[in-house]
Amino acid sequence: MSLSISLSVNGVAREVALDDPRVTLLDLLRERLDLTGTKKGCDRGQCGACTVLLDGRRINACLALAASCDGAAVLTIEGLAQGDTLHPVQAAFIAHDGLQCGFCTPGQIMSAVGLLREAQTGDDPERVREAMSGNLCRCGAYAGITEAILDAQRQLAAPDHAEAA
């Protein structure tokens, strides 16, 4: 049985015929749309490496059925930069060493972008850490990640970035 879905991925309309209704959004992105930037660390929603934005909200792509994303807009790490210009969160992760091996990084960054849109933490590092605790980093780059998010938040709040936020 084939199931056809249409969704927007990084602003591009995609039509996908699913031969198996059990395919997750993560496998759809990685195996069928060649978007391997989204990582599979556990496939159980426990590590956060597959975090993407679904209609603007951060989710674990491994826990979402692709079929349930019909009509939705998905934003992955590949769709974040504007051409050669990095998103402020991406640039801040580099500037503050918010990564080592880089495997959890796409998930961390997408989670951070979602977090900043939620606008719940203010400039309290404790609340940022709490809100980022679904994204594991075994290299232990948490200090840099927290600094990067707070810095990106400041930059996005600046007048010249107001529309990007």
Binding site: T36, G41, D43, I77, V128, R129
Partner: protein, 762 residues
Amino acid sequence: MNYIIPQSELKVVGTRPVRPDGVDKVTGRATFGADMTLAGMIWGKMLRSPHAHARIVAIDTSRALALPGVRAVVTAADFPDIASEEAFVGEGPMNFRDLSRNCLARDKVLYEGHAVAAVAAASQSVAEAALDLIDVTYEVLPHVIDVEAAMAAGAPILHEDMFTVGIEPKPTKPSNIAKRVAFAKGDAEAGFREADVIVEGRYTTQPVHQAYIEPHACLAQVAADGQAHIYSSTQGQFMVRAYCAKVLGWEIADIRSYPMEIGGGFGGKTLVYLEPVALALARKAGRPVKMVMTREEVFRASGPTSGAVIEVKIGARRDGSIVAAREVLKYQAGAFAGSPIGPGCMCGFAMYDLPNVDVVGYDVVSNRPKVAAYRAPGAPITSFAVESAMDDLARKLKIDPLALREMNGARDGSKTHYGVTHRDIGFLATLEAARSHPHYSAPLKPGQGRGVACGFWFNIGGESSGAVHVNEDGSISVVSGNPDIGGSRASMAMMAAEVLGVPIEHVRPIVGDTASIGFSHLTGGSRVTFATGMAVTQAAERVVDQLKQRAAQIWEIPAEAVEWKDGKAYPAGLNAGAFEPLSLAQIALKAGRTGGPISSEVTLNAQGAGPGFGCHICDVEVDSETGHVKILRYTAVQDVGKAIHPSYVEGQIQGGAAQGIGWALNEEYIYDKDGKMENAGFLDYRVPVASDLPLIEAVMVEVPNPRHPFGVRGVGEVPIVPPMAAVANAIRAATGLRMPDLPISPPKLRAALDAASGAKAA
């Protein structure tokens, strides 16, 4: 040449340029093990044992092979049955028979999750369906999980041909004790008789997993003529090539191994699990085969580090001078011999100058996954015990714990109990930096406690290759044979840029595959910035010599009359002639007309790695209701020799400390009575998350290692050694309780607090 000079005279080394791997990693472009695809690729999956210990009576693959879409099935019968042969590779010994039998079980399965057979099929779902159609007949055997139970008489024996090595006379009965090792210095018995104060303790630690977020992954391709390509997430492309060749019985030259970007290794990717199996499947199927472990497989079937039982006894005079020390260590190896018992026996007391030492260690097999290296293998376990005992000793003597360590600390000329004499070490400087750090004297609130603990790691050198190529446009390519797990691309590029006198932006570091660069030992032992850095530095120096020669040729003067400074050739003095300086780019442009490409590859076996020492300070607060420990403040001081890129070094120190805190408070393998792991997932095996940790402050002490051109010491492993004892000592200070069993998880600590208050009430 030697570049151990003041920081003010260095232009690149010691600064913090933008990381060369940054953009790829923040845009999702970095290609990790599972991200690679090849045309016609199919999927491989592994069938694993449901039993902790069982004899394989029969394997019938016919039903699986008949499933449409299945291209190949392999079992141990498809591999040569190789003889027991031990080689020393990377950080420890490797027995290739054991390695082969760990990749695919032969005769017996030795732990739950042990690989039994593998299939390759057109899709992941077909491959999974095929696994259910492989019929394995098992004869279940009694199993043993606990290390001391495995040592006891009458325990189920894993290997009928294992007789304890290191015991005289040679035992006649097989045992789960693979090896007994012993180190002695002076006369410990006599030493203890001189002691005014003695502390003793028995400590246990649980196996913990490296828990890299990227599961093991590889992609294998084998052509009809046997030429093979293997792309994998590994700490050593040359290791993958050699191990696969050994396990498959192929020639090394027939395999080309490509290291992909690695999503964490921490020692756990220093051996092969999937690669030989994927190659065998690819050969049989005639198609490229990708294999990726699930998280469950990573926990159940790839190596954690040992759990252990350690007994420690330390005796001192009333003034604090230690007169004798004794340690007995029992390390779990998992299903095959080879726990890090050797380093375990050495590292605990390596930091101290002790007259009398007696250490005995046992390497013990049991029905658990074979252990793999994990950051300073063996050292954190032994140091948890010794540094806890040192804290007890300081309390008993009423001496400041850092003062006690300073008094007994190893210094230049101190001879260790394993025979090595320390030279050019920075332990005392590290202790001094910890003692004078504001954290150490900051006030604590009631209910809070502060602990300190130290750690040591040898660091290693070894065989490495590094190449520096001057490209036609004057840009520079630096190629190394070591996967970058801690920032080595940055440090290689920076050392080359410093020697060449060019801006770092013009230097592009690359990790080569096995056909692109000379042999290099794997990335481990904190060896790369030291050993491979030495090769790259020498290659850059040879390139400078060539650049001077080319300039001399262009100017038609002798090469000795050319000087290289700030990336340009200058005539050396007035007698050499009056020439405008030639930049590297100008010389590169004329390379074809002055003798051809300018490049150099240096291969070497680096000796003289400098050991590293760390001292950590930890403040905690304990919730007496729940037993939860909150880390309030954490400072990690370490002698790093010379920080090439300080941000990466700080990252290594913070990361090691974070992992050690997880080891101390939460991480453990939990087994049921059938020998099955109960917590093979991140929900139940809890690694530290962002909200668990405070800002970990990394303090770098730089006592240069004179045997490296820039003074480098390895830095990546030392920081995981002190945390367990630092945390336990802080808990001791906060609660009065000595917690000798890891992890100090909330239920365990609450039970101890309840018992203590009950005892007080009664």
